[in-house]
């Protein structure tokens, strides 16, 4: 229960107590979603994104969390989305395809750079191959 409470608390009061993440930085999970979107190219909508994350990153995430993250990333300007044509097996609904914006690519670069610097010289402890 406690993590849930904390998440709730941050979501509501986070901005007031200065605990929200800096917009320039993106969290680990957001990075993963952006990378998955890039991997999928022009076939990136929620269903394959989730599969991609499960397959490549071994992260099983709930649908709700994914939609929230996609929405947040779009709101921050890292993603943009467009609707495709209606699909019969979706009950005539269209797919919403996501693509990473240039700002998103830049943010990924910043993150990778930050991680690269932090990882530097730690091969002795962490081993090769990252």
């Amino acid at each position: 229960l406690r993590p849930a409470l904390r998440r709730w608390y941050y979501a509501y009061f986070g901005d007031k107590i200065g605990l929200t993440r800096e917009p320039a930085f993106i969290g680990e999970f957001e990075q993963m979603v952006l990378l998955a979107v890039l991997q999928l190219g022009d076939k990136a909508y929620a269903v394959p994104i989730r599969e991609e994350l499960a397959m490549r990153a071994r992260r099983k995430i709930t649908r709700g969390a994914l939609y929230t993250t996609l929405e947040r990333l779009e709101a921050k300007g890292y993603l943009r989305s467009r609707f495709g044509d209606p699909v019969p097996e979706r009950g005539g609904r269209a797919r919403r395809y996501y693509a990473v914006t240039s700002r998103g690519v830049a943010a990924l670069r910043t993150s990778r750079e930050a991680f690269r610097k932090l990882y530097q010289g730690l091969d002795a402890i962490l081993g090769e191959g990252s």
């Binding site: 979501a11 929200t20 909508y45 269903v47 699909v87 097996e89 979706r90 009950g91 609904r93 919403r96």
Partner: protein, 883 residues
Amino acid sequence: MSHEPPRIPERLLSWSLRDREYREEILGDLQEEYASKSDTLGRRVWYTFEALRLAVRFSVRRRVNTQNQVKEQTTMSNLRADVKYALRTILNQPGFSLVVALALALGLGINATVFGMMDSILLRPFPFPEYERLVILSEKVRGGSERDAVSAANFLDWRKQSKATEQHAAWEGWDAALTGGEETERLQGARVTPGFFELLGVRPVIGRAFIAEEELPGHERRIVIGDGFWKRRFGANPQIVGTEILIGGEAHRIIGIAPPGFDFPGGTQIWSPLAFTPYRASERARRSLTVAAKLAPGRTVSGAQAEADVISQRLAQEYPDTNRERVVSVETLSAAFRPGIAGPLFWILLASSGVVLLVACMNIGGLLLARGVDRRHELALRTALGANRMRIVRQLVTETVVLGLVSSVFALLLARAGLDVLRAGMPADLASQTAGWNNLRLDSRVIFFIPALSILVGILMGLMPALGAGRHELWNVLKEGGRSNVGGQKRQRARQTLVVAEIACALALLIAAGLTVSSGIGLLNQPGGFDARRLLTLRIPLPENQYQEPESRREFASELLSRLEALPGVEGAAVANVLPAGGSNPLEKLLIEDHPVTDPAKTPRVGYRSVSSGFFETMKIPILRGRPFASSDREQTQPVAIVSAAMAERFWPGRDPIGRRLRIPGVGEQWLTIVGVAGDVSMYNWWAGIDFSAIYVPLRQAPPAAGIQAVIRAQGDPLLLGGPVRAAVRSINPLVAVHKVLTMRQAIEQCQSGLSIVAWLLGLCGAVAGVLSVVGIYSMMSYAMSQRRHEFGVRMALGASSGDVLRLTLGQAVKLTGTGVIAGVLLAIALGRMMAGVLGVLSLDAQVFLIVALSLAVVGLVAAYVPARKALKVDPVAVLRAD
């Protein structure tokens, strides 16, 4: 194959997604994945689960951390702000809030108690699994309403032939005399067919239940004992299983121990197998069994009834002698075991507790209306600052709902205490006969019911002042500066109406309680038709294996009488099948020679009492006509009977019943001649309605069944005879147990306890309502006084004496109280009539009406006088200067 996902979850999810684009995206994604799955059932479950999960997520945390956060979150944050504001307001006025919360807690607490009681006794009297599938099968005369017991042969046939019901079990009562100890102890036992425990879903905690072969004769000396008996007698020693104890002088092996709390049917502590001898298994005329079964899967009570009708028709053709005109009735277990009076009684109690809640709400409504005036400024200011009407209403409602929730916590605590008191307050043997009484507790349903009720009440109460608050006051309030009273007229009238209604409701409840108490006292003190002083009563169940023959029971009774009469200090003694206040009033059907009955369902039934010849003399029951029984009324002489005055009046109004003849088919075939008329005797069974019709037959000509009751008139204190009487019984047969050795007064008081619980609850309801309404009068008056201080100041400055002003204000209070009292009396008459229909003993006692109405009026006026007096002490100059 259709790829349409389940509709309801889809709708729900769609509804929770406000944004059209997200709806399209998410619903589409989900349906696409749904379509890609093949397992038909599995994917529906999957879809439902996922959709619900998403719906919850998106309706609770609607789009967190997005840019349109502010717009989307206003509802939640408004609610949060409202709750915060409400808590602040509540804490700022601790006195007011406490009064409101306590009033509400009292109202809700009483409702929770009554609902809890109703829940335990009416709705879920038995803690058995799948109890809603359990049914009771009983025999009935075609067209009749009385349930009869079932004969062994019919039970066996039903069991064989029924498809709609399964796992049939039957049982009959068994007075087990536990011997081998210092004194023979009587235990309430039951003989049950082996499937009994399995049917009820009960498994012994230690050892086993009965197995099928124990239904055959020769294996029946096995017992399962109850948890209470096990702990009391054997100190909860688990080693006791497998050992033997003596019951009625015969060794019975203990094979299992029932789980704690299991005492079905009605307080049973010891169970043994019901073994049908071939003779018994073919008997159709002797009806002594209660039969239960479980509805087969998918079958309903009415389906089972239809099947039972077919079976009973078949049996009627096959065995016309015993089964002609007899049908089977199928009822649910809880319906069959519900005390007949419990339903209406609970409706009365529920209605009363509802009225208490209503009074509490009106009271709080009055307080809120008053405070609404005080808060006009605050609300007007908020309106001026841009709050719309809806917003303000919502805030006020939030306040009362929060208050309601707080008080529901108190209410649940109150209810828990109340139910504990009720459970402990009922005498043990009565409690065990009221199915569910021992399970009285605050269960989850009450715990959900009360907060839900409190939210509802909170919304209603909040709306009351809120509806008057938002409108057309802004300008006036701001214009007026600080002065009050504009627009108060309407509120004033609303408050007055509330106070009148409160007084009326409280008065009606108090009178109803008073009537119940007075009829209870009346029942206690009513002439019972005999002299209850210095009487000792006792019950003697005879072990059935030793007293199977009527001859042996007759023998025992006369032996007992002669020994009892020989005891020093005994003025007289008698034996009967049942005594007044003996806990029951067995009825028998009558065939009267000059009252032929064509419809067997309409055969008259009267109380049946088989008494020893000294009965009327010992009890001091007057013989109004004819003669009492004499020792010359023996087996071989002419069969005789004595009827009660009420029965004589019922069948032979204005004529002489003596010499007329009648037959009691349930007892014997011979015709009895009426030789006397005895005075009416009360059996004190208020729950069955009071009926004085009774027929007495001499014990020698009609020996009682296995249980007999004895009554002894002492020369001194009857309780001193307890020891010698027990010793006398033991000296005849050490295997016979004696129980319920009570004076007649004690027995009568025990009969009352159910009624006194009703009176106690009604009284509590009335008292709470009364206090609340008095508080209502007081607060309304003191508020009106404070509002009119200015006016009084002016009046007094212009020369009015304080007496004049007092008369003016009290005049209003008298008018309100008077109206309330008149309305209350009318309401009470209606309520009393309704209750008299349920409780036969209730009569509309004018004295009670007068006393209760007057005292409430006086208290109400005092409550009005105190604040009026205080208001007048104010110096007019000071008041006027304050403006």
